[in-house]
Every structure is written in C-alpha cells, then in structure tokens.
C-alpha cells in the first residue's frame, strides 16, 4: 500500500489504525482523517447527490466542504479538519448524507 508520509523534519505521535469503508489504514495521533487517507493513496471521499461524481479534498483548509464524509456514523464531517482517533470509522459519503446511516 502507498505511504506518502514524509519522514524528514518531524517525528510522529502514536500510530494506530482507522477503519475506512471496512478496511484498516494506518494513522497517527495529530493527523487529520483527510491526511491519513491521502497518505494511503485514497483520494475519492464522497459521491455527489446530483451527478453522482466522485469528489476529494479540494481547499484543504475547511472552507469548501468537498471532503465531507460519514465519520463515526455522522455525515457531512470535513475529513480535512477532523483528527483521526484510534478505531474511528470513516465511510465514503453518498449524496447529501443522513443522520444515523451511511446513505
């Protein structure tokens, strides 16, 4: 699996795993979910409601809401602003998202 983490300049915090659409990927304390996904080579984070197109992280600073995902069961959470926590579940969001479910 791809690992796009840069090794120079910093030492990372504790390593753990997060569950992305049922699959384990590595993450570290202090990493955003968006960064952990890109580090694993995962760019598509949601599908749009109308045209059913894939979207990924775009502005990267919390303004555009393109990286909205279902995180721990809650939809419309920005992956670029949300820190990964041990064992958190992350699902690709399909459409507008609904409380209490991935759809």
């Amino acid at each position: 699996m791809a690992d796009r983490r840069i090794s120079n300049g910093v030492a990372r915090g504790t390593a753990f795993e997060i569950l992305v659409d049922g699959r384990s990927i590595p993450a570290h304390e202090g990493e955003t979910i968006g960064a952990a996904l890109i580090a694993a080579g995962i760019h598509g984070l949601r599908h749009t409601a109308k045209r059913h197109e894939p979207r990924g992280m775009f502005c990267g600073i919390g303004l555009c809401y393109e990286c909205a995902m279902v995180i721990n069961g809650v939809p419309n959470i920005r992956a670029c602003q949300t820190l990964a926590t041990p064992g958190c579940t992350v699902e690709t969001q399909k459409g507008l998202g609904r409380l209490g479910g991935a759809e």
Partner: protein, 470 residues
C-alpha cells in the same frame, strides 16, 4: 462596569500583530480563531503530537512564524484567545455570533478588527472537480503541517511565488514534482521585479532560494502555459496543458498531456470579505488585490465606525503586509478606546507605515505579473461544474443569464449556484468574471452574492443551545 472590549477575528499574522499591539497598550482583548492553535494558514502550527526535529525542513515561513506565535503566546495571561471558534454572523448592537465546542455563543465588542485572511482563487476548468485536484494552499498545508505528499507525480499549475515555494517544500520532502506550469510570461519581468524589490532583501532572498531549489532538482518550469483539463475516471490521471497568449488565452494546437496523480492549482488568493460585507462596510473591486475589498482609511478603519480590516481579507498582499496592517489596526483601536493618545498612537504606528510603503513597491510589480487574465475564465465549457456544492454547470448559468439574471443574486435564485455549503466562496469569484463577460460589462459592475448569516454551516442543535458569554 467592565472595560471596553476589542474583539479580533482571526489569529493569522494580522490578527496576532493587532492583539500584541492592543494588549501592550492595555486594551482588554478577545481573539476568536477558527483553528485549534494560532498562526492562521501561513504560520499554521503543527499538532502537538508531532515533534519538529528539523525546523529548516518546514520552510522559511514556518521559522518566521515561530517568533510571532511565541510573542503572541507570551501575552496569553493578559488577553483571551478562543481557538476552535467559528464566527458565523455579525448582528446589530455590536454582537459577534460564533460556534465553539458544538454550541453557539455571542460576544459584544466596542471595537472590532476583522482579520479573516484569504483563500485560493477558484478557476473552473474541465475536470477541476476530480479527486486529486487540490488547491495550492491546501497542498501546502498537507505538506507543511501534516507531512504528507499529495501524490507521487505532482504537477503544480497556476501563477505567482507560492508555486515556487510549494515546489521547494515538496522537493525537500523527497516528493516528485513533474513540472511547474506558470501562466505568466515572467521572463521579461525580472528586471522590473528587481527594481521593485530594492530594500526587500527577505523577499528577494526567498525568491532566489526557491528558484535555485527548483533548478537543482531539474523540475521543468513552463512559462506562458495553463492547465486546460484534468482527466481521469475516479481520480486525476492526466493533465492537459497548453501555451497561452498575453491575455492567457489558449493558443490552438499547443496542448499536450502529462501523466499525474495529483494536481495543485494556485492562481493567487481571494480576500475573505464575508464579515466586512455583513458588517455593512463599503467595498470596491480591485482585481490586482484579489477582487472585492473593503474601503479603508490609513488606520485600517472601514467605512463603519469601530470596525477595522487588516491583512489579506482587505486586499491580498501576503504575510509581511498583513503583519504591519495588523499592528496599525491594533494601535488605532487602542487609541479609539482611549488607551493611547493620538500622538503616541502615531509614534507607535510610524515604523509599520514606513515598512508598508516599502513593501508596496514590490507588491505593485508582483500584482502586475500575476493578476489573473481573462483567458482563465474561458477554460470552462458548458458541461463544466462551476458551483461545486450544488453542481451547477456553466451551461445552466449561461441559460440563467440569457433568461435575464444579470447579477450573482439573481443567478443564485434561478440556479441555486452559491447556495451550498461553501456559501459561494468557490463559485462567486469566477462568476463575477463570467457574468461580466456574458453581459459585456466590467466585473465591478456585477452585483456580488450577498452574504447572509450563518456564513458557515451551523447545525440547528447548536443554535438551539445558544448561550451568551459573560
């Protein structure tokens, strides 16, 4: 009776500098900042679980920012810094509404300094919504503070010095930059640039440092070229680039394709004016400063009494200008609150005014080179999504204009463009230009989207739990 209060929104270079000056003058200050830690975008701090082992690897801005953040942090006991505080509205009676810890709160101010900063200028082109296409600013945050590369074959497209800075950071991190595509024909402007830069050794030295890093790594730098299309199935796989003329219009027959897995787009920045507009400040359109900006006096005061704007949100000019504008605004607010005499305020602000005059020379030259030209707004086709949130295409927008919609608010009512979660931030700036072109008008003649609270998505539950501070 409590002391009069200065509220500062934003803790980037402008907001931090304003707070430092105001606290020094004895003003009671509260800073509201969206991020967990002060620094803004340019001086963003790493999460404390990261240990910085080589500050040099994080770039020159990071090291410069450390000093300012340390100075700001040293005042912590004499002011109130509220991180994780997302301002969503301004209301009469001098009230600021913000979201913190899942709850909406209100704070009252006597003087207000808005230092919201800027965000990457969105330019719609076919394929710009594909995963793997991200803004240069977003890519920089990923590389600098998360220490993750956006891809394995990275192409940088856009204009201006940030491209060179980002390329260097990626190269130093061991990443592969397959090319830098620069829209401007910069070559002929080096002499002009050198003349403008006299006395600005820091900026000149940065530019030389970046240029050398790129040359050493043998990264191709293509001038007078733009991205015309991103292609791929579920993510970006190919970038189509082409040569452009002086108006940045594509020269037919010059297109070529490059295999990429990440595309970083950086066409400069747009000032975040939603709060100065909500506050009722008068604005003017200045394309060389990023678009709509608040009208200000020499003390950074807007046309609304007691409301100041400092830094990139009042005209994109970079961190060094933001810092000096922040100082001036902080001193002016302290003077307005009676903590400094007019004479003392003028004395304290003088060095900043001097620095700004010197920086302005270089700025004018850089602006002239990098201001987006018309050709960029001709890249989108009728099938290109312009409003990313509501998925509205250029074709739908043109149909609305043909149907009589002649400003951004009418287009919003007819198409929903600008109604989504980004609140028009990523369609508005391009629509300003596109509507002007379709109507044969100037961009400043097109009425922009009216910001309405909440200017950021706020859950109904948060509003229901609304509490008041103090």
């Amino acid at each position: 009776m409590t002391d009069p209060m200065l509220v500062i929104i934003g803790a980037g270079p402008a907001g931090m500098a304003a707070a430092i000056e105001a606290v020094r003058a004895g003003v009671r200050v509260t800073v509201l900042d969206e991020n967990l830690r002060p620094g803004g975008q340019i001086y963003r701090q790493l999460d404390p679980s990261f240990t910085v082992t080589a500050p040099g690897a994080l770039g020159r801005d990071f090291q410069r920012g450390q000093a300012l953040v340390a100075e700001y942090a040293s005042l912590a006991s004499r002011m109130e810094h509220l991180g994780d505080s997302l301002v969503w509205g301004l209301f009469p009676e001098r009230e600021v509404a913000f979201l913190r810890g899942g709850e909406s709160q209100v704070i009252r101010y006597d003087q207000l300094i808005i230092a919201l900063g800027a965000y990457d200028r969105p330019i719609p082109f076919p394929g710009w919504t594909l995963p793997g296409v991200l803004t240069a600013g977003g890519a920089q945050r990923l590389v600098k503070t998360q220490r993750v590369l956006p891809g394995e074959r990275i192409l940088l497209v856009g204009t201006g010095p940030l491209q060179l800075a980002l390329a260097n950071q990626i190269i130093h991190a061991g990443g592969k930059v397959v090319g830098i595509v620069e829209a401007a024909g910069v070559l002929g402007n080096w002499f002009q640039l050198a003349c403008g830069a006299v006395g600005q050794w820091t900026l000149v030295s940065d530019a030389l440092h970046y240029a050398w890093g790129i040359t050493k790594a043998r990264v191709p730098l293509l001038r007078s070229h733009v991205i015309v299309e991103a292609r791929g199935n579920s993510k970006v796989e190919e970038a189509v680039i082409a040569r452009v003329d002086e108006e940045w219009r594509v020269v037919p027959g010059t297109a070529r394709t490059i295999a990429v897995d990440a595309l970083c787009v950086g066409y400069g920045f747009v000032p975040s004016v939603e709060l100065t507009r909500l506050a009722g400040c008068e604005h003017q359109y200045r394309s060389e400063l990023g678009g709509w900006i608040p009208v200000r006096d020499e003390h950074m005061g807007t046309t609304v009494s007691g409301v100041y704007a400092a830094g990139d949100c009042a005209g994109v000019a970079g961190s060094q200008v933001a810092l000096e504008e922040g100082r001036i605004a902080g001193i002016a607010a302290a003077c307005a609150l009676g903590r400094l005499s007019g004479e003392e305020a003028a004395r304290r602000a003088a060095p900043s005014h001097h620095r700004l005059r010197s920086l302005a020379r270089l700025r004018r030259v850089l602006d002239a080179i990098s201001v987006p030209r018309r050709g960029l707004y001709e890249l989108a086709t009728d099938d290109t999504v312009v409003c990313r949130c509501e998925e509205i295409t250029l074709g739908e927008i043109r149909a609305a204009i043909a149907g009589g919609a002649n400003d951004l608010n009418a287009i919003k009512r007819m198409t929903r463009s600008g109604m989504g979660t980004c609140q028009g931030r990523y369609c508005g700036p391009a629509l300003q230009e596109i509507v002007a072109r379709e109507r044969n008008a100037l961009p400043q003649e097109v009425v922009p989207l009216n910001p309405r609270p909440p200017i950021r998505p706020v859950s109904i539950a948060a509003l229901a739990g609304q509490g008041e501070l103090e």
